[in-house]
Amino acid sequence: MIRFLASRLAFAAAVLLALSAFVFLLFFVAPGDPARLLTGEKATEAQVAQVRANLGLDRPIHEQYLTFLGRTMKGDLGFSYRNQQPVTRLIANRMPATISLGIGAILLWVGIGIPIGIMSARHPGSLRDRLGQGFILVGISFPTFVLGMASLYFLYFLPRQLGFTLFPGGGYKSFLSNPWIWAWHMVLPWTTLALASAAIYARLTRGEMLAVMGEDYIRTARAKGLSERKVVYKHGLRGILTPLTTQLGADIAAVLGGAIVTEQVYGLQGLGSLAVQAVGNQDRPIIIGVVLLAGLFIVVANIVVDLLYVLLDPRVR
């Protein structure tokens, strides 16, 4: 077990190192000169050279990379080219909105998708199954931004026209100052981000559940005299936890990608919008910081899934 964990951690470190080198190199070969961008069109060549020297951009790439690596190890991601603020602080400021969005959305889609999937699978072909499948079809067919626009229209714009505010149209309020206000502001972003995934989870749950309910051990459970509830929730659901965990691990890692669109639609000041702005500004330290954070996130999510696997499936222990 410890050996397993150690090998996973070593692998994770290697992945992150490779990622950092890759991103660093990518920006080095990319066109555009950050020093020129910073100093502006009217700056003299000498001024640009001065800025370039200040940023350390005149040194050979391997030297730059090693310096960067050394600083990163100490938790220092450098300063934004734009406003000279530490990247770590910029990221830290943007974290609460993204984390709120991500965790809430994940809980929401798991909480909607899995029950709908189970409902569908318990009585295949029934009205409830067809309702569930209808939900799956709609959720999967619409892209996030369409769902976002639709929820914004029906839950924010339309009520406003009728003279009341059902949900606010955007903005992030701190969880610590007032959790109620925080949740109220997050409902629309959560729904937008979660609906498509909820449909995917409903479909996955339905399919896996249908397969498991045909297993011999389900017949054994019934032959024992267990109630149908216990057969479904104790024996059936337990059997599909492994595939669900696999999917969840991959999706948690990808939630940052979905968050970019949602943050734009609802004007949330999160990591997604930070990354979008940084790309526009060629603000390399921020981009590298966000990419590394996303990489760290994916790597950690994968390790957690691997560990959960060991806990869930006695056969791989």
């Binding site: 050996r3 150690a6 090998s7 297993e215 011999d216 051990y217 017949r219 054994t220 459970a221 019934r222 032959a223 024992k224 005299g225 267990l226 109630s227 149908e228 024996h235 337990r238 059997g239 936890l241 869930l312 499936d313 006695p314 056969r315």
Partner: protein, 617 residues
């Protein structure tokens, strides 16, 4: 007073093709504490019957009555049925691996049954579960309580299933093919355990099986089913030793263990009928050796005989009075003729090891084959028997050149197959052909049968166009398939026919060696006999050399000239088939034979010969 009484049961299951009539007017009763056997081939409706008793067929239309402890099970609500299931009627089924939940410990699965039906504390339930585990022969039961199903062998898992079934002391235990997925030596132990349990606890056991021989030693009554009909019912002795129905006679005659080795088996002709129709005639009539005009026009009435057996047949006397022909000594002659022939394959000291592990894990070597040497002589059959995991299929793959050996040599027609150049390798593929076990999985469902059989011609560029078609159709005819079915898909063929397709494909390039890897183990007895006869007649006709692998001793003995007994990667005994069978030297061979002993004396049908059975015991 019977503990279970089924009256005029009719079961119909809705499927995509229409209603399947899985049971038709079936009545029977089970006495307290008895072993009641239900025998039949796949599709006979025997498992459906078992599930109908427990109410586990929610979509089925079930008519009739099933009386159990004063209640009609078919009239009970789901809650009342739940209270009976597990507590009064328990069930164990075929595959103990898939029947236990893989993610819960075996102990918790047993205590779950206790907690469902009785209000007891955790400690009490645990103690009772450990007690019952001990009773079914699980050693250090207290420790193994917390183990998961995958940590047990197949036989041990079936013991756990039995423990789970008997822990609440039910009045009736339904065992649906409890030993089919197990090795021979384990099968015997499980049957004995079930027999002991019912004697100890007074539980009636309803044993469902496709293997009539299995019932002979333990069952009190036997019911034979065919296409949803109860063909015959009576005391086990009467049914097995003096069968009344031609179908029962046919079943017994198809089994190689009731025949002189090497002789022609007496298969039941044709295929089982579709259950979609409910014909107003005898369902067995199209396959029956004793069919009469009345059989085709009216459904037979039940006839009761003096010994208590009942038969659904128009015959007035028992069908077993029919003499079954046994061609006698042709075998010996054939064997003598091929003495001193050259070896097609020479295997010398083959070792095969797989290694596992990776970068950070210590490498582990698992030896699968530990020094195998043998010779296959032209025109003869070498049978390899052994239990699952002994390496017999792996050996076949090594000889076919599909897996390279770690050390040792395989010579095919004098050439070491590890030193072949690509051209010679191509040539070897013509010489050695393999027929695989699973007739469903080994044929591509999306390709037409004609092109599957024609593949060898295409790959080796032997024949094209019309010529290829003609040769394929000739092959189809040779293996007993209708050549007009050239354009059909594999799904349109039955299991036995698919195995014929596999054999036709193997024959295409006139190979010198055909390796059969469990060719009949997925087939029903009556179909198995047809395929075995085909395999033997082809050998006689074409002078083929066979390597025949099976876990079934009677099948191997039936087709083989020589037998190699494998255990844990080694050949423990190798010799003349008759000698290995009648005078086994190695203790493992003796165990294997004892476990697979055919019908015990006294319960033998007239189709077998006395000398043969004595030789086996």
């Amino acid at each position: 007073m019977a503990i279970l009484e089924a009256r005029n049961l009719n079961i119909a299951l809705p499927t995509g093709d229409g209603m399947v009539h899985a049971a038709r007017d079936v009545s029977f009763s089970v006495q307290p504490g008895e072993m009641f056997g239900i025998a039949g081939e796949s599709g006979s409706g025997k498992s459906v019957l078992a599930q109908a008793i427990l109410g586990l067929l929610p979509t089925a239309e079930v008519e009739g009555e099933i009386w159990f402890e004063g209640k009609n099970l078919l009239a009970l609500g789901s809650r009342e049925l739940q209270q009976l299931r597990g507590a009064r009627i328990a069930m164990i089924s075929q595959d103990p691996l898939s029947c236990l939940h893989p993610f819960y410990t075996i102990g918790s699965q047993i205590t779950e049954a206790i907690h469902t039906h009785r209000r007891v504390g955790r400690a009490v339930a645990r103690r009772e579960a450990i007690d019952v585990l001990k009773r079914v022969g699980i050693t250090s039961a207290a420790e193994r309580f917390d183990h998961f199903p995958h940590q047990f062998s197949g036989g041990m898992r079936q013991r756990v299933m039995i423990a789970m079934a008997v822990v609440l002391n039910p009045a009736l235990l339904i065992a649906d093919e409890p030993t089919t997925a197990l090795d021979v030596t384990v099968q015997a132990q499980i049957i004995k355990l079930l027999d002991d349990m019912r004697r100890e606890l007074g539980t009636a056991v309803m044993m469902i099986t496709h293997d009539l021989g299995l019932l002979s030693s333990v069952a009190d009554h036997v019911m034979v089913m065919y296409a949803g009909n109860r063909m015959e019912l009576g005391p086990a002795q009467a049914v097995l030793a003096d069968p009344a129905h031609p179908y029962t006679v046919g079943l017994l005659a198809s089994s190689p263990s009731n025949h002189e080795p090497g002789s022609e088996l007496t298969p039941i002709i044709g295929q089982p009928p579709s259950l979609l129709a409910r014909p107003d005639s005898c369902t067995f009539a199209p396959r029956c050796a004793r069919v009469m005009p009345a059989c085709r026009s009216r459904r037979p009435a039940e006839r009761v005989f003096a010994d208590g057996s009942r038969s659904l047949c128009w015959l007035e006397a028992k069908a077993s009075a029919l003499p079954v022909t046994r061609p006698a000594q042709q075998v010996a002659g054939r064997r003598d003729a091929v003495e001193h022939e050259d070896a097609v394959v020479r295997v010398r000291d083959i070792h095969l090891a797989f290694s596992s592990g990776g970068l950070l894990r210590p490498r582990q070597r698992t030896e699968v084959l530990k020094g195998i040497s043998l010779e296959l002589r032209r025109g003869r059959t070498l049978g390899i028997v052994g239990e699952s995991g002994c390496g017999k299929s792996t050996l076949a793959r090594v000889i076919a050149g599909l897996i390279p050996a770690s050390s040792g040599t395989v010579e095919v027609q004098g050439k070491d197959i590890s030193r072949l150049n690509p051209a010679e390798w191509h040539e070897l593929r013509k010489t050695v052909q393999v027929v695989f076990q699973d007739p469903f999985g080994s044929l591509n469902p999306r390709r037409r049968v004609g092109s599957i059989i024609g593949d060898p011609f295409r790959i080796h560029r032997v024949a094209h166009g019309v010529a290829r078609r003609q040769r394929v159709q000739a092959l189809m005819e040779k293996v007993g398939l209708n050549p007009e079915h050239y354009n059909r898909f594999p799904s349109e063929f039955s299991g036995g026919q698919r195995q014929r397709i596999g054999i036709a494909r193997a024959l295409a390039l006139n190979p010198s060696l055909i390796i059969y890897d469990e060719p009949v183990s997925a087939l029903d007895v009556s179909i198995q006999a047809q395929v075995l006869n085909l395999i033997r007649s082809l050998q006689a006709e074409l002078g083929l050399t066979y390597l025949f692998i099976s876990h079934d001793l009677s099948v191997v003995r039936h087709v083989s000239d020589e037998i190699a007994v494998m255990n844990a990667g080694r050949i423990v005994e190798l010799g003349d088939a008759e000698q290995v069978y009648s005078a086994p030297v190695h203790p493992y061979t003796q165990t294997l034979l004892a476990a697979a002993r055919p019908l015990p004396s006294g319960a033998s049908p007239r189709v077998g010969s006395e000398e043969m059975r004595e030789g086996a015991t």
